[in-house]
């Protein structure tokens, strides 16, 4: 488990991170959300030792992260880059060795990964000869080749077509279910919503919210219900104890101002005619995000 405890960092007079704390738990996909410039990349770079923190600690399984531990982390930086003139398989295997694998294991892992990522037919080509999407897959292979104990991916899905997203997703899920903690940042909330088990929301260099995705939903989302009746649903506005968010013909979405007011609405609706639908509305990550920051 990776534990980040109140890390701070400034560039000149500009405080970029201020008391950032969160955890990335084993076997869970943790989504790291934040607007541009909120400190996501800086945080990741500090965890990876690319940048030094001015305060705070980063620990792995309770012990400070040393170079030897970090060597077993897998990292996909936001600004992609591998050696353009080096062969795809050759450089991934080389990076594997740099991460501490022996030559044979590095080559075996490379071959397996390229196959998983459907890139095996380009293994002998130079990186610069690949399309951007395929370079992205190679980049993911480079982060995974040494069977990392922790995966940190900065915007792993940007620049991928939907099919590639699914491929990459499959590979990441497989790692997570094998017990590897995965931290990935994204500004595509819908993607994160679908993927992550835990969410960390950062805003202005401070953690705005963090925890299990479902727990955050109940914490941040005001309970909402959607009612669909046979005729116009405008009457819901007059029911006491609720606030209507939206009415569109026979469909109404409302929030509860008093507990159990939903039952009052349902009872009234049944008294007025047929009810086609009645269900709680789970807040989207978008809404949690907007509310948290």
């Amino acid at each position: 488990m990776l534990t980040v405890t109140s890390i701070g960092r400034s560039f000149g007079d500009h405080q970029v991170l201020d008391g950032v704390s969160f955890e990335v738990r084993a076997g869970r996909m943790t989504g790291f959300l934040g607007a541009n410039g909120s400190g996501k990349t800086t945080t990741m770079r500090i965890v990876l030792g690319v940048l030094a923190a001015h305060s705070g600690t980063v620990t792995w399984d309770g012990a400070p992260v040393t170079g030897a531990v970090r060597q077993r982390f897998g990292y996909m930086p936001e600004e992609r880059g591998l050696y353009p003139k080096m062969g795809v398989a050759e450089q991934i295997a080389w990076l594997g060795r740099l991460h501490g694998l022996d030559k044979a294991t590095a080559q075996r892992n490379t071959a397996r990964l390229l196959e998983e990522l459907e890139l095996d037919h380009r293994a002998e080509d130079r990186l610069e000869e690949l399309s951007l999407g395929n370079q992205q897959r190679a980049q993911i292979a480079a982060a995974l080749v040494h069977d990392p104990v922790l995966l940190i991916l900065d915007e792993p899905f940007s620049g991928l077509d939907p099919i590639a997203v699914e491929t990459v997703l499959g590979v990441l899920r497989e790692r997570a279910s094998a017990g590897v903690p995965v931290l990935f940042s994204s500004h595509q909330l819908s993607v994160v919503e679908r993927l992550c088990d835990d969410v960390v929301i950062i805003s202005g260099g401070k953690i705005a919210a963090s925890g299990a995705r479902d727990e955050l939903r109940t914490r941040y989302g005001t309970p909402r219900f959607e009612l669909v009746v046979a005729s116009d649903a405008g009457w819901v506005r007059d029911v006491p104890g609720v606030r209507v968010v939206d009415v569109d013909g026979p469909r109404a979405v409302f929030e509860l101002l008093e507990p159990d007011a939903d039952q009052v609405v349902l009872g009234t609706a049944l008294g007025r005619g047929p009810v086609r639908g009645f269900s709680p509305v789970v807040p989207t990550l978008d809404e949690i995000f907007m509310e948290a920051i």
Partner: protein
């Protein structure tokens, strides 16, 4: 970082291995080496093949003219021994054949030459007469010039060859792979690997030259010269290697200060000066003993100047050892400074980074 010693060495080795492989695959490397090898052959073989001027000899007295007749050399008759000596001194003729007054010579003549016994003149005589040397320094002037030029050129080529280190560093910055590298291995291992890799490449090229040069020289019929150069080469190789490591670390820093290949020119100026300066210094002041003595102790220029002085017989072995010690100490200091600046500037992006800022920014990475 508290990376174990083992993984530091392994990382350094892997980085060096990649640098070497990349280089052995580049056309430029092989073209450069081919140019050096061909140049060596051209310099030693061509003059012999093309013949050049016939060897000129001054002869004094009828006995000398008689002896030299049929030697195939161009014989110039002069009136007295003094005139012949003057011609030898002015290098108008290679040697003078004069009557032997002492009666020690079987043929009745003596040979006067400037620095070395004139091989081709002596070879043309049936019995070798006594030889008087006017200026019995160990090495002839022409040979000395040639050796200085070759040493200086080799230094220049390898020194400038260090640009490859700067380019490889910028490539890593520009493609951003540096972020993966820095998160995986200590920055010092990155620097050490680059220097080690390119030093090995240079050593390989020096080895090729060390094998080719004697071949070329004996092909060109300069076996004697080879015997003279050999001890100086023995000194030149370690001096060249130390000099290279010194420059290599500076090239790496030059590369780390900028983020794009296009900006490399702006940060390389100082290093280029440190390569070209010693080159021209030695070429221009080769005849000025004082300047050469100074140059032979100053690190950077000592890599050429000291072997040249040793070759000319102007320096003692202890001087060479002192100069080498100074050079080695400078290498240690510069490599330490370079690794600090390198760590500070490696993650910097944007325009050119000032040295002072790179120095101050060394807390950026946890190297």
């Amino acid at each position: 970082m508290t990376t174990g010693k083992q993984s530091f060495t392994t990382a350094t080795r892997l980085i060096a291995e990649r640098e070497i492989k990349t280089f052995l695959r580049s056309k430029g490397f092989w073209i450069g080496l081919a140019v050096i090898v061909l140049g060596l052959f051209a310099m030693s073989v061509l003059p012999t093949v093309l013949g050049g001027d016939q060897t000129k000899v001054a002869a004094v007295g009828s006995k000398a003219v008689e002896v030299m007749a049929g030697s195939g050399l161009e014989v110039r008759q002069v009136d007295d021994v003094e005139a012949a000596r003057a011609l030898v001194r002015d290098e108008e003729v290679e040697a003078a054949v004069v009557p032997d007054d002492g009666g020690t010579s079987a043929t009745g003549v003596r040979v006067i030459a400037l620095n070395d016994p004139p091989v081709d003149v002596l070879a043309s005589l049936r019995t070798t007469p006594p030889v008087d040397l006017l200026d019995a320094s160990e090495v002839g002037q022409g040979v000395r010039q040639l050796v200085i030029m070759v040493f200086a050129l080799v230094f220049l080529m390898f020194g400038m060859g260090g640009t490859a280190i700067a380019q490889s560093t910028v490539t890593e910055k520009q493609t951003r792979i540096v972020e993966i590298l820095v998160s995986t291995v200590p920055v010092r291992a990155l620097l050490a690997g680059k220097i080690a890799g390119h030093t090995l490449l240079t050593l390989g090229q020096v080895a090729v030259i060390a094998i080719v040069a004697p071949l070329a020289l004996s092909l060109g019929g300069h076996s004697q010269l080879l015997a003279l150069i050999a001890p100086a080469l023995g000194w030149f190789v370690p001096f060249l290697l130390l000099g290279f490591v010194l420059l290599a670390s500076m090239w790496a820093v030059a590369g780390s200060l900028v983020s794009r290949q296009e900006d490399l020119g702006s940060s390389m100026g100082l290093v280029v000066m440190l390569v070209i300066g010693p080159y021209f210094g030695v070429m221009f002041f080769a005849d000025n003993a004082t300047v050469m003595t100074v140059l032979s102790f100053v690190p950077f220029s000592s890599a050429i100047a000291m072997p040249v002085r040793l070759f000319a017989g102007q320096a003692q072995a202890w001087e060479a050892l002192v100069a080498m010690g100074l050079l080695a100490a400078t290498v240690v200091v510069i490599v330490l400074l370079a690794s600090k600046v390198y760590s500070g500037s490696l993650m910097h992006t944007g325009g050119k980074l000032a040295l002072a800022k790179a120095w101050a920014g060394r807390d950026n990475t946890q190297a």
